[in-house]
C-alpha cells in the first residue's frame, strides 16, 4: 500500500512537469512529418497568378479567415481597428493577436502547432527566417509582392520569396530640443561623437543647476536592453562590415569595440541614475524619464513616435532625432540607422482558402485607401509599397531629410547577429560592466568569441 501511495505521489509530481514540457495539441498524428513538405511544393503552382480579381475574391470570402500574430505591441490597437474595418468591408474574419513584448518566438511556436494556426506571422530577418523557413509559403507571384517598391525588401531561400518587409524604421538619439536649448546648445552643435561627448559632459557637470541629466537611464532590464545589446551594437558591426566589404560574417573581429565602449560609457556615466542600478531599469522607466523632462537624450527609434507625441506629451517642435555618433567613419555624412526587422510570412500549413484570404488581406492593407492610411497615420509606419501614404511620423521625415541632404543611412546589420543567445550574453556582460561587477574584457569576449561559438552552433 505504501509503495502504491509513493508511486501515486511521484506520478502526481510528474504531472505538472509533463504538462509544462509538452504543450497540448489536438493533432494526434505527430509522427507524420514527411508528408507535409510535399504540399509545400504543390501549393505555389495553384496560386501562381495574382488573385486580386473580384471573381475569386467572392469565392474566398465565404470560407477563408485570417489570423495575424502581430509582433509589435505598440500597434496592437491600430491593427485591431484595421482588421475590423476589413471584416466590415469584405466579410472575411480577421483575428489579430499580439504577443507580449519579448515573447514572440514562444507564442508563435505554440500557436503554429494548433489546429487553427496563425496564417500570417513575422520573422525578424535572415537569422529568424532560418528557423521558420519550413513554415513559410512561397510568395513568388503573389499580388502583394508586386506592390513592393524594391526587391531588396524580401527574404529569399533559393528562388522562393519567403518573407517581405512591411515597414522601414529608423533609430538614433531622440533629443528634447527644448531642454537642449536650456542647456545652451542646439542640435546643430552636435555633428560628431566629440561634440556629443562635450555636450553630455557639460550637462552632467551642471545637472544640479539645470535640473536634468543628459541621457535617460540605459536600462538593462529585458524590456530595454535590446537598445544597447542589439541596436547600439549595430554600429561597431556596421563599420566593421563596411571596412571588410561584407554583409555578414561567421567571425566578427570587433575592430570598433573601443568606440562601442566609449558611447556606452557616455550613456551610463551621464545618466539619470547610477550605473549600478541599471540592471533593474525598464524601457518604461527610460521613456517616462524622457517624457518628464528629466533627460535630454533618449536612444530609441521611430516606433516611439506615437508614445512621445500627443496630448500632454511633446509636440513635433520639441523633438529631433540625431544619428548615433561613435567616432568612426565619415561622421559629417552619417545618417540615422535605417532598416527593417519586420517581415511578413504566410503560413504554408494553413488551409488553402485561409492562405488566399491572407494574401488578399495583405494586398488590401498595402493598396487600399483605408489600409495605407491606417498604416501611415495610426501606426506611423513607412511602408515600402508603391501606394504608401506619407506618414506624419517626425522621425521618419527626418530620416528622409538626412538622406536628401546627402547623408548615408547606417544599415541594420543586427539581423545578421548569430542568435538571440548572443545578444543575451552580450546584454549580461554589458550589465555586469555597467554595475562594476564585470569588466570590459567580458563584453569583448561575449562580442567576439560569443559570435564565433554561436555562429557555429546555429550553422553547425
Amino acid at each position: 500500500m505504501k509503495k502504491v501511495f509513493a508511486l501515486l505521489l511521484a506520478l502526481a509530481m510528474m504531472l505538472s512537469l509533463a504538462a509544462c514540457s509538452s504543450g497540448t495539441t489536438t493533432d494526434t498524428s505527430s509522427t507524420t512529418s514527411t508528408d507535409t513538405p510535399s504540399t509545400d511544393t504543390s501549393t505555389p503552382d495553384a496560386t501562381e497568378a495574382p488573385a486580386a480579381d473580384a471573381g475569386e475574391d467572392a469565392a474566398t470570402e465565404a470560407t477563408g479567415a485570417v489570423y495575424y500574430l502581430n509582433f509589435k505591441p505598440e500597434q496592437d490597437e491600430a491593427w485591431q481597428n484595421l482588421a475590423a474595418a476589413y471584416t466590415e468591408e469584405t466579410g472575411v474574419p480577421v483575428t489579430v493577436v499580439t504577443a507580449a513584448s519579448n515573447t514572440y518566438e514562444q507564442t508563435l511556436m505554440s500557436e503554429i502547432a494548433k489546429s487553427t494556426p496563425p496564417t500570417l506571422f513575422q520573422v525578424n530577418g535572415p537569422v529568424g527566417l532560418a528557423n521558420w523557413k519550413d513554415y513559410c509559403y512561397d510568395l513568388t507571384g503573389s499580388a502583394v509582392l508586386g506592390e513592393l517598391t524594391s526587391d531588396s525588401f524580401t527574404l529569399k531561400d533559393g528562388d522562393a520569396t519567403l518573407a517581405i518587409s512591411y515597414l522601414i524604421e529608423s533609430y538614433g538619439i531622440i533629443t528634447n530640443k527644448t531642454l537642449l536649448a536650456e542647456a545652451g546648445y542646439t542640435i546643430e552643435d552636435i555633428q560628431s561623437f566629440e561634440d556629443l561627448k562635450a555636450v553630455a559632459e557639460d550637462i552632467t557637470a551642471r545637472s544640479d543647476e539645470l535640473g536634468f541629466a543628459a541621457f535617460t537611464s540605459a536600462g538593462m532590464d529585458a524590456s530595454s536592453d535590446w537598445r544597447f545589446k542589439t541596436h547600439l551594437a549595430n554600429l561597431p558591426i556596421y563599420f566593421e562590415y563596411q571596412d571588410r566589404g561584407i554583409t555578414s560574417t561567421d567571425a566578427i573581429q570587433g575592430t570598433y569595440l573601443d568606440n562601442y565602449k566609449a558611447i556606452f560609457d557616455l550613456y551610463i556615466n551621464n545618466s539619470t541614475c547610477e550605473p549600478a542600478m541599471l540592471s533593474s531599469k525598464t524601457g518604461d522607466d527610460s521613456r517616462n524619464e524622457f517624457l518628464a523632462g528629466e533627460a535630454v537624450f533618449y536612444q530609441n527609434g521611430s516606433w516611439e513616435y506615437t508614445n512621445l507625441v500627443g496630448e500632454g506629451k511633446f509636440t513635433d517642435d520639441d523633438l529631433a532625432m540625431i544619428p548615433i555618433y561613435i567616432g568612426v567613419g565619415d561622421e559629417a555624412n552619417q545618417g540615422l540607422c535605417t532598416g527593417t526587422e519586420n517581415y511578413w510570412c504566410v503560413n504554408n500549413s494553413a488551409a488553402e482558402e485561409d492562405i488566399q484570404a491572407t494574401l488578399d488581406f495583405l494586398y488590401w492593407c498595402v493598396t487600399s485607401e483605408t489600409g495605407t492610411k491606417a498604416m501611415a497615420e495610426d501606426m506611423a509606419f513607412v511602408i515600402p509599397f508603391k501606394n504608401a501614404q506619407e506618414s506624419p511620423n517626425l522621425f521618419v521625415k527626418q530620416d528622409a531629410e538626412y538622406t536628401a541632404a546627402g547623408k548615408t543611412p547606417v544599415s541594420w546589420n543586427f539581423t545578421t547577429m548569430p542568435s538571440e543567445n548572443w545578444k543575451n550574453e552580450l546584454g549580461n556582460a554589458l550589465t555586469a560592466y555597467a554595475a562594476g561587477t564585470g569588466d570590459w574584457d567580458g563584453v569583448v569576449s561575449a562580442f567576439v568569441d560569443g559570435w564565433a561559438t554561436e555562429y557555429a552552433a546555429a550553422n553547425g
Binding site: M109, N131, W132, S419
Partner: protein, 283 residues
C-alpha cells in the same frame, strides 16, 4: 451497496481515467518520444536518436544548474521545515490569537509565485540599494539568498498547517503519560511528539524538496537566472533551452533535459520517501 458499486463503477472511474489519459499519460508519452527528435512544432518532428541526451548530459550549464538546484533544494527544505515546525509548536500551546496567527502565516501561500517574485525583487533590490550592495541580478550569492527568503516566506505557512494538524492528532494520553513520568519539554518533543509527527514530516519534506527542485516561476521573476545564468535552476534552464534558442536542435535538447529532470525528481523523492517512512511509528 456492493452490487451498485459493481454496477456503476465506470461512472466514477471513466471520467477521471479519461482525463488522466488525455491530460497526463498521452502528453507524457509524446514528450518522451519528442526527446528523441528535432522539431520546431510537435507535428513535424524528425527522429534523431539519443543525440539530444548526449548533448544534455554534457552541457556545462545544465550540470551547474543541477548543483545549484540541489543546494537550493536542501537549504530551502531545511529552513522551511525547521521554521514551519517551530511555529506550529508555538501555535499549538493555546496562546491568545492563535487562529489569527495561523491565518496570517498561511496567507503568503495564497499569492502566486510570479507575483511574489516581482514583489520580492523590488523589496530586496530596494534594501540592497540602501545598503549600497550590488542588486540581485548582479551578484549570484544574493540571488541565492533572495530565492531562499522568498521560498521560506511562501512555504512556511503551508507546512505549518500540516504540522499543526499532525500535532493535534497526537493522543493527549501520550503527552499526559510523559508529563506524569517527569519528562521535560525537550524530552517530550524528541521522544513523543516528533516520532508521532513522522507522517507529517514525510509529507512536508516531500513537498518542500520537490518544490525546491521544480522551482520555476519564483526563479524567473526574482532573478531570471542572472547574472549570466549563475542563478538559473533546472526548470528555468530547460525553459531557456527550449524557448530562448531558435532552431530545431534546441527543442530536442530542451525536451531531453526535461525527461532527465523528471526522472531525477522521481528518484530523489522516492529515496526521500523511503528514508523518512521507515522512521514512522504506528500509534
Amino acid at each position: 451497496m456492493e452490487k451498485s458499486i459493481k454496477k456503476y463503477w465506470p461512472v466514477f472511474v471513466i471520467p477521471t481515467f479519461t482525463a488522466f489519459i488525455i491530460g497526463f499519460a498521452w502528453p507524457f508519452l509524446q514528450g518522451l518520444y519528442l526527446s528523441f527528435c528535432q522539431f520546431i512544432t510537435i507535428d513535424r518532428a524528425n527522429f534523431n536518436g539519443i543525440a539530444n541526451y548526449i548533448y544534455a548530459l554534457t552541457e556545462e550549464q545544465f550540470g551547474y544548474s543541477f548543483w545549484f538546484t540541489s543546494l537550493f533544494a536542501i537549504v530551502s527544505t531545511l529552513c522551511i521545515n525547521i521554521a514551519g515546525l517551530a511555529i506550529a509548536l508555538a501555535l499549538t500551546r493555546g496562546i491568545r490569537g492563535t487562529n489569527l496567527f495561523r491565518s496570517v502565516f498561511f496567507m503568503p501561500n495564497l499569492i502566486g509565485g510570479i507575483v511574489l517574485g516581482y514583489i520580492w525583487n523590488i523589496l530586496l533590490n530596494c534594501a540592497l540599494t540602501l545598503l549600497g550592495k550590488p542588486l540581485l541580478s548582479l551578484h549570484a550569492p544574493y540571488g541565492f539568498i533572495g530565492l531562499v527568503i522568498l521560498m521560506c516566506w511562501q512555504q512556511i505557512g503551508y507546512m505549518m498547517i500540516i504540522y499543526i494538524a499532525g500535532l493535534q492528532a497526537i493522543p493527549n494520553d501520550y503527552l499526559e503519560a510523559a508529563r506524569i513520568d517527569g519528562a521535560t519539554e525537550w524530552q517530550t518533543l524528541w521522544k513523543v511528539k516528533l516520532p508521532n509527527l513522522m507522517p507529517s514530516i514525510t509529507i512536508c519534506l516531500f513537498l518542500s524538496l520537490t518544490n525546491g527542485f521544480k522551482l520555476f516561476d519564483q526563479n524567473l521573476a526574482l532573478t531570471g537566472g542572472d547574472p549570466a545564468h549563475a542563478t538559473e535552476m533546472l526548470a528555468l534552464n530547460i525553459y531557456q533551452t527550449f524557448y530562448g534558442r531558435s532552431g530545431p536542435q534546441w527543442k530536442g535538447y530542451g525536451q531531453a533535459k526535461a525527461v532527465i529532470f523528471c526522472i531525477l525528481v522521481i528518484v530523489i523523492s522516492l529515496l526521500q520517501l523511503r528514508s523518512t517512512r521507515s522512521k514512522e511509528v504506528q500509534q
